[in-house]
């Protein structure tokens, strides 16, 4: 993945990225079975990501809107695509102020809403401590 980051202001950031994961097609031909018995037909999975990242409107808030376009090139077949739209909100926390365990110095709680081109939508929340 290669990512270009532009910090427009201290609170506004734009990101664009492109990446690819390409198993060799020559390896896939003639060896149709994976260990889990799933057909291995995906020759490459490039993805493009355009992200508008609103960084810290407050010192402890993050907002992000992200668009992803995934394209899979099948062996001897088409190349279906998937479009994803992600809206995220994060809350930064600090153990010194929030009485969290001392092994967690800080981190972010992030909630995500996702909608794909097929009309499927879901939301999820998670926490990621600082490393």
């Amino acid at each position: 993945m290669t990512q270009l980051k532009v910090r427009a202001t201290n609170k506004l950031e734009f990101n664009g990225a492109f990446g690819v994961d390409n198993p060799y097609a020559a390896n896939l031909r003639g060896f149709p079975l994976s260990p889990s018995y799933f057909p291995a037909s995906s020759a490459a999975e490039p993805q493009r990501i355009v992200q508008l990242y609103l960084s810290r409107p407050r010192s402890d808030l993050l907002f992000s809107a992200e668009y992803r376009r995934l394209r899979t090139f099948d062996l001897d077949a088409g190349s279906p695509t998937a479009d994803q739209m992600n809206l995220m909100m994060g809350i930064l926390f600090d153990s010194e102020t929030d009485s969290l365990p001392p092994m967690v110095r800080g981190g972010v709680v992030m909630c995500q809403f996702h909608r794909s081109a097929g009309g499927h939508a879901y939301g999820s929340c998670g926490a990621r401590p600082d490393e």
């Binding site: 993945m1 290669t2 990512q3 270009l4 980051k5 532009v6 910090r7 427009a8 990446g19 690819v20 994961d21 390409n22 198993p23 060799y24 390896n27 896939l28 003639g30 060896f31 149709p32 079975l33 994976s34 260990p35 889990s36 018995y37 291995a40 995906s42 999975e45």
Partner: protein, 123 residues
């Protein structure tokens, strides 16, 4: 040293079976070296890394998984930066390479089926 994962799904959710990486009896090995200097007050970093994973698949099919990686973080101006990475590897489904697959079989796994480590490239 790293957990020697290969990306395969467990054969059953009720029993724990050693998978190909663990069956090799050794961990995976990785090393990374990088060079950093300050540009526009931000770090410019260039890195290179290597990875090796010995795997023992069914019927004593041994596979040497490996990967060579390079990564970069380059400030272009005070407000614009470029980061990225590139890899070339073999049997690295455990790291997500090859769309998550380390090896393929020519048929149902049996003593006569051929095994093909998946080469992959990406970044």
């Amino acid at each position: 040293m790293m957990d020697n994962v290969t990306g395969e799904l467990p054969a059953t959710s009720f029993e724990r079976n050693a998978q190909a990486g663990e069956s090799s009896g050794q961990p995976a090995y990785a090393v990374r070296a990088s060079w950093t200097r300050s540009v526009f007050g931000m770090p410019l970093t260039l890195g290179a890394a290597g990875y090796y994973s010995r795997q023992n698949w069914v019927f004593n099919n041994h596979v040497d998984g490996w990967a060579g990686m390079t990564d970069w973080s380059v400030p272009l101006t005070k407000r614009v930066s470029l980061t990225g990475e590139f890899y070339r590897g073999r049997a690295i489904g455990g790291l997500g390479g090859g769309v998550g697959r380390s090896v393929l079989f020519s048929g149902d796994p049996n003593p006569y089926a051929q095994l093909q480590p998946v080469n992959s490239v990406g970044g």
